[in-house]
């Protein structure tokens, strides 16, 4: 027995040293990475916005706000954000209520279809939409053929582009709001509502005074993410051609920012807006966390919908799905259309453009690059995410709460800000994106998706009892061995799901890709789509086909993730 123990003694001393090193190494490496690729770039932007050769200055802000073009862009973006949030809410409230309250035939399928819009960056939809709503596009042709209008309507006239952007954003972002709300509503113990019901409180009052106050944090969390994403989305306004918006202005300023430092001031405004919104949300909901009572006997609160109600549900849910799929359908049709001129639908179909993807350089390189970059960033996320989640949930180091907060920042930090920061921080260094943007692209992808991974892994870790690890320690295992043999197999599902999400979102990343990749050979998928779209001739069709390929890849990933995560998927999109 003593020799047995001696062996364990010796071996575990070494492995303990390793696990301690790994533990603190993780923290230090993560901190360093977050410092150099999150805090430093933002810091550089802020300092440049306030600093000129003559010292501290507010001159750039004066210039920014003196220029009507810029102030209009700021207002437009805020309005896009507000309008998008509002319509997302209007769309999601009935949808989430239906989801939590009623069962009806085909519910699983329809609920799944509701999430489809997440699989496409809205800017791909913008390509298709333009085909449909162009002066001689399908919609006008349809209306003309039926004699409902005499002259084609200019749907995408300059004045309508604002709403085109809003609609595309809403159709892309409502699933995030819907997931947040559904999760929040499902978390409200149905017996709370029943308690009011038996007291004779009418239904509308129960909703207003019991259900919604309890679900409000979820609604708010969803709103914040939707608002910030809509406020800072670059792809959609760029492709719709709505240039009077903040992200597009920033995009155009990146290249010559050193000659025109007003760009710094504009990016700072974005940062300021984001920070304010988050502070406001913490202020309003930070301390207000309702603890649901332990659910002893859970009455599910779900009822079977009657015939009439089922019909109504189909109209609402089906209508939303149909609306949300218009951009996808239009991209699909565009990608396979051959002869399409002055008709509602193409006269002939072809798969030529799909062939071209694999024959011409740009599209294929785009797919290949995105695959490689996203794989790299996902791998980085997996390692960092698991270790950070482990260190944080098991409170292995002092100030683990601080680390947790730090890791979550990218969820709120707009992609354009980060990409912009990278360009100005790392130009003329060994990471210069002009020379080779690959390291920065991978890091940018990884940093921005790290919160998904950490959330996903933490969710798994919180569900596995710590005593499983203590038991392993009692049998002589080091922490590292326990992590490998016990922890990882148990949270594997969460890791896979988180990894799929990271991968999917890296694949459809727009702002980092558009800003950081400056040479053809390094173009990721999204930038290739954008470049093709700008090309004359068949560019529009090939970019649609490429968009379809991207959508296919992402659908597989997201369906996979949601199958693994189930209802918990919504929690990943919480701030």
């Amino acid at each position: 027995m003593s020799s047995e123990k001696a062996m364990v003694d010796q071996e575990s001393r070494l492995s303990r040293l390793i696990s301690t090193t790994v533990g603190y190494g993780t923290v230090i490496a993560t901190m360093a990475m977050l410092f150099f690729f999150l805090i430093l770039p933002v810091g550089v932007i802020v300092s440049k916005a306030f600093y000129s050769e003559n010292g501290l200055t507010l001159e750039y802000f004066r210039l920014l706000f003196a220029n009507d073009l810029q102030t209009v862009a700021i207002w437009n973006s805020i309005l896009i954000g507000l309008a998008t949030t509002f319509f997302c809410m209007m769309l999601s409230i009935p949808l989430s209520m239906i989801n939590t309250k009623w069962v009806f035939p085909g519910k699983t399928l329809l609920s799944g279809l509701l999430l489809v819009p997440m699989v496409m960056p809205p800017f791909v939809g913008a390509i298709g939409i333009q085909r449909f709503f162009a002066r001689r596009g399908s919609i006008n042709m349809l209306l003309l053929e039926n004699g409902w209008i005499d002259a084609p309507i200019d749907w995408l006239a300059e004045g309508n582009k604002f709403w085109a952007v809003v609609i595309l954003e809403v159709l892309h972002l409502y699933p995030i709001m819907y997931l947040n709300l559904s999760a929040a509503l499902a978390n409200v113990d149905p017996s709370l509502e029943e308690a009011a019901e038996v007291m004779g409180v009418p239904r509308w009052r129960r909703y207003l005074q019991i259900v919604w106050p309890l679900a409000a944090p979820g609604l708010f969390a969803g709103s914040i993410i939707v608002f910030i994403w809509a406020l800072t989305d670059l792809g959609t306004p760029l492709l719709v051609g709505f240039h009077d918006s903040m992200p597009v202005r920033i995009f155009n300023m990146v290249t010559d920012v050193n000659e025109n430092p007003v760009g710094f001031a504009l990016v700072f405004v974005v940062i300021l807006l984001t920070v304010c919104i988050f502070l406001a949300s913490k202020f309003m909901f930070g301390t207000k966390k309702y603890d649901m009572m332990a659910k002893g006997h859970v009455t599910s609160g779900v009822q079977k919908a009657g015939l009439l109600r089922t019909a109504m549900i189909y109209v609402v849910v089906g209508g939303t799905i149909l609306l949300a799929l218009i951009p996808h359908i239009s991209v699909l049709i565009t990608s396979i259309s051959d002869q399409w001129f002055l008709t509602v639908l193409p006269e002939q179909y072809t798969l030529r453009y799909y062939e071209q993807i694999f024959q011409t350089d740009l599209p294929f390189t785009g797919i290949k690059n995105s695959f490689l970059f996203s794989m790299g960033s996902t791998l980085l996320d997996l390692v960092l995410g698991l270790l950070v989640a482990y260190v944080v949930t098991r409170k292995l180091v002092p100030m683990s709460g601080f680390l947790d907060g730090l890791v979550m920042i990218p969820l709120a930090l707009p992609g354009i800000v980060l990409a912009f920061g990278y360009v100005i921080t790392y130009t003329d260094t060994f990471l210069d994106p002009l020379e080779n943007p690959v390291p920065l692209l991978i890091i940018a992808y990884a940093i921005r998706r790290l919160p998904f991974m950490v959330r996903s892994a933490s969710a798994g870790l919180q569900q596995t009892s710590y005593s499983l690890e203590e038991a392993s320690a009692c049998f002589g295992a080091s922490r590292f061995y326990t992590l490998r043999k016990i922890v990882m197999p148990l949270v594997a599902a969460n890791l896979i799901a988180g990894g799929l999400l990271c991968f999917a979102y890296a694949m459809l990343d727009v702002s980092d890709s558009l800003i950081l990749a400056m040479k053809d050979q390094y173009y990721p998928l999204t930038k290739a789509i954008y470049a093709l779209f700008l090309e004359q001739g068949s560019g529009e069709f090939v970019s649609s086909a490429l968009g379809m390929v991207g959508m296919l890849i992402l659908t597989v990933c997201i369906v996979g993730a949601s199958l693994i995560l189930g209802k918990k998927m919504g929690e990943l999109f919480r701030s």
Binding site: K5, S472, K485
Partner: protein
Amino acid sequence: MEVTLDKIDKRYDSTYAVKNLDLKIEEGALHFFLGPSGCGKTTTLRMLAGLEKPTAGRILFGDKDVTSMPAADRGIGMVFQNYALWPHMTVRKNIEYGLKLRKLSKVEIQQRLDDVVGITQLDGYVDRLPGQLSGGQQQRVALARALAIRPTVLLLDEPLSNLDARLRLDMRDNISRIHKQTRITTIYVTHDQKEALSMGTAVSVMKQGHMIQTGAPRTLYNHPNSSFIASFIGETNLLIGKVTDIASDEYTVETEFGLFKTTRVVGQYKVGDEVHVSIRHEAVGVDFGKEPLVADIKLKLRLEHLTYLGESEQFKFRNDAGAFFKATVFHTPEHSICDGDEVTCRVSAEDILILPYQADTDSGT
């Protein structure tokens, strides 16, 4: 392996979970830590396991100071309250885990697996996952897993608390049998006094981080050192009284139920001191009018409530001032006593115990 706890303190921020704990656990003992929840018994066990570090004091396994030795190196076997079976591993894998970490030969591993599977009666279940087993089987797997590594000390953290009453009785016998077979020094934490009294070779009763008394089960029941132990182990009437007379070694105490005389005294008192008088419920006789009543002390009491339990009956009396006095009588004759009746009770002097007065002791009423 003899285990020694030497002046152990465990502090969380400013509150003590365990304070100044001194204890020797004998080699081969089945030693119980017994106490209400939050008394520090589980914390003590976790310190023995190496999962928590004492704030002060030393822990010795034999002569070896293991105070700052991590759990992995102590060679202990532990059964967790929730069993902590790894759900992704079969019973076999669970049991082999610790053996593989010890780099034992294949033959040795198989041998030990067979041994513990036999001793815990798990034959035929080794290839199942924990989720496919009943609670009792899971409990036995946890035990088998801990035994397989031939631990120096076996630690059990409320191992039966998740089982239903029936199974719990079976498992008590099982654990006692296994302990007798292996003779491994075993430390067992529970809040169930029946478990401790029926199985333990020694029992330490803890309260609010302090060890109040350690001793054999009979010692604790018959010779409690405090009113806390008297009321915690078994059930007792704790009456507040004042010493009115001391004649040689016989003390007279005045209580609201009258005068009690006894020679059984814990502590030293002088006339006028406040004390606790402990009289076990089952030591109180009740006059059913069937046989002549011979007793040192007779009490006339009004019956407040009678609880019929089949093998016994519990009488709850109340005096005019509203104080309660309880009696439990086993195998009662047929009688017609009912709530509100005036009943005569008897108590023998040898069943009366005088203990130091303790203000916060719940008298059990």
